[in-house]
């Protein structure tokens, strides 16, 4: 009920900024076109790294972006929502209601997740319709499951990040470390295999690397569920380690902010 109220509120706010919706759509189209033409430019000289995925660079990048957009919302949304509610002044009013801080946090971020999910679906649909991406119905279910795991993994990091914002307000190192390293090392626009060996080990520690790999296997390499089980287990392991840690950190941050009287300061 409360979560629905948050969604409704954010829907109304989004609709009140109509021009922004249009701009977001244009941005997606422009980035798609950019990677399409990069793919066209180098399409003739097929890289051995892309052979497994049908040699189509555009389709390769498309899947990378579908996952990374979703993952970055998981990473950013919680801390961004805490920060903007502090700055706007709505956090105090929300916390004065009998609503748990977790509901406020998730409720305020849910709209961003839905937007990111729609964007990911849009990207994958474009790939299926125009660029030979293959997706069976069981494959689609597994892809959804992988996206869900990705979201939980990044939400856990996002909660760590929100804990940091709760106490230190600005200069969030968690967002910086996971955000930039995921973009660079996660295999979004080039394969992890082209990186030097030590960086490949670092890439293995990031959840986004596994999420993208799993989706590319499903959508481009057209392998079955069995072949991505080890990749999914890696994601689950990451969640098992980080999720409890992030909940403990967030509890501590709220307690500390209440003690210092800085819950709504920014």
């Amino acid at each position: 009920m409360k979560i629905v109220a948050f969604l409704k509120k954010d829907l109304f706010i989004t609709l009140s900024y109509r021009f922004n919706l249009l701009i977001q759509l244009v941005k997606i189209v422009i980035s798609l076109l950019m990677f399409y033409f990069i793919g066209e430019t180098f399409g003739g000289a097929m890289s051995p790294y892309l052979a497994r995925y049908g040699g189509n660079y555009f389709a390769y990048v498309l899947v990378g972006f579908a996952v990374s957009g979703f993952a970055s919302v998981g990473l950013d949304a919680l801390s961004d929502e805490v920060r903007s509610a502090q700055v706007e002044g709505t956090l105090e009013a929300l916390l004065s209601t009998p609503t748990s801080i977790y509901t406020i946090l998730i409720g305020n971020s849910l709209w961003s997740f839905i937007e990111a999910f729609i964007e990911s679906l849009l990207l994958i649909s474009i790939g299926i319709i125009f660029f030979e991406l293959h997706l069976s119905i069981p494959g689609a279910l597994v892809a959804m499951f992988v996206l869900l795991l990705t979201l939980i993994a990044f939400l856990s990091i996002g909660m760590l990040s929100a804990s940091f914002i709760m106490i230190f307000k600005q200069g969030n190192p968690i967002k910086f470390i996971f955000g930039s390293s995921s973009y660079f090392l996660g295999g979004i626009i080039f394969p992890v295999e082209v990186l030097p060996r030590p960086l490949q080990y670092l890439a293995e520690a990031l959840p986004i690397t596994h999420a993208i790999k799993a989706l590319r296997e499903l959508l481009l390499a057209k392998t079955g569920f069995e072949s991505i089980i080890p990749i999914i287990l890696n994601l689950i392991l990451f969640i098992i380690i980080i999720a409890p840690l992030s909940i403990i950190a967030f509890r501590f941050a709220v307690k500390r902010a209440k003690r210092d009287g800085s819950l709504v300061q920014y």
Partner: protein, 326 residues
């Protein structure tokens, strides 16, 4: 201190709060600021208790502790006799908070959409929300404004919406943090009348008002808790606080002809101020006033007027804060 009852809506007993302020220079130790120091008070049902004090006195800290935004370090807080954390956990006591910050609304939404959203957060059932919001809008006379975006409202209307949000779930306790801080005197009077008529006379709510607006205190306070530097320095009804400054009646006699020197030597009054044609005195009781008038006339004075002076809350506040009366 007033008599306390177990079931008082709010009861603070020796509550203290220390803020730890980190220094901007990392090598310096954390600074500790005592915001509340053994603060004890109660708020009964159907009364407006007013936390009064200068900036930094600790008023907002009290409100924030009750709203659950800040934790206290020591002492006991009870709501209707129940420990604060238990009352909050069970949600058995409904607290409404009216902060002075109109940015706590979503400015892109209408007033009605804002109130409906907050109704959901107050656990009001979906079917009842429309009715609750309409009733509150009618009660505060803001129904006509309800479907305009919040950003277009005047300060007075925004203030009324802040009040509307705080009473959505018909609270047992209403916390008002500077409820009229940004509005003009006429709108201010309107809000004051609403608070008194709707929440005290009609709903019998326990109200804790936090302000440094002395006009507001004069209009609303049934009981004043005067805070300074995190401590209660005086408390009581406005009448009692007056008596702390002047244990008697202050009155002014105006003359068309002044009486001779030492006219008040044998009467039980103290002359505070003497200007041309006017004398301000304090008498212990009404008899003292008539004795003073007789003495003035007997010494050749021609009295044109005698008025009892209502000691303003501003005088009380400034004298108590400066320690003149204690």
């Amino acid at each position: 201190m007033r008599e306390t009852e177990m079931s008082d809506p709010i009861s603070f007993h020796n509550v203290s709060k220390i803020y730890r302020i980190p220094s901007l220079k990392p090598w310096q130790a954390i600074k500790k600021i005592s915001a509340l120091n053994d603060v004890s008070f109660t708020c009964p049902q159907g009364e407006i208790s007013c936390l009064l004090g200068p900036n930094g006195a600790g008023k907002t800290t009290v409100i924030k502790i009750l709203a659950g935004l800040v934790s206290h370090d020591g002492g006991d807080i009870k709501l209707y006799g129940m420990p604060y954390s238990e009352a909050m956990k069970r949600a058995s006591v409904k607290i409404g908070v009216m902060a002075s910050n109109d940015r706590s609304f979503y400015w892109r939404l209408t007033g009605r959409q804002n109130l409906e959203f907050f109704c959901s957060l107050y656990d009001i059932k979906r079917r009842a929300i429309h009715g609750v919001v309409s009733d509150v809008l009618l009660e505060l006379d803001i129904e006509k404004e309800a479907d305009k975006p919040f950003r277009l409202y005047s300060s007075g209307i925004k203030q009324k919406f802040l009040l509307a949000r705080s009473i959505l779930r018909n609270p047992d306790i209403l916390l008002l943090d500077e409820p009229t801080s940004h509005i003009d005197p006429i709108a201010k009077d309107g809000i004051h009348a609403l608070i008194r008529n709707n929440f005290i006379y009609r709903r019998n709510t326990a109200i804790l008002l936090c302000t440094h607006d002395l006009y507001e205190v004069q209009r609303l306070a049934d009981y004043i808790i005067l805070l300074n530097d995190g401590r209660i320095i005086a408390e009581g009804s406005p009448m009692r606080l007056r008596s702390l400054i002047h244990p008697g009646i202050t009155f002014i006699i105006e003359f068309s002809r002044m009486p001779g020197k030492n006219w008040a030597k044998r009467v039980p009054v103290t002359i505070i101020r003497e200007e041309r044609g006017k004398v301000e005195c304090v008498a212990r009781n009404k008899r003292g006033i008539s004795a003073a008038i007789h003495a003035a006339v007997n010494h050749g004075g021609k009295v044109t007027k005698c008025t009892e002076r209502d000691e303003s809350i501003i005088d009380i506040f400034s004298r108590l804060i400066q320690g003149n009366a204690l």
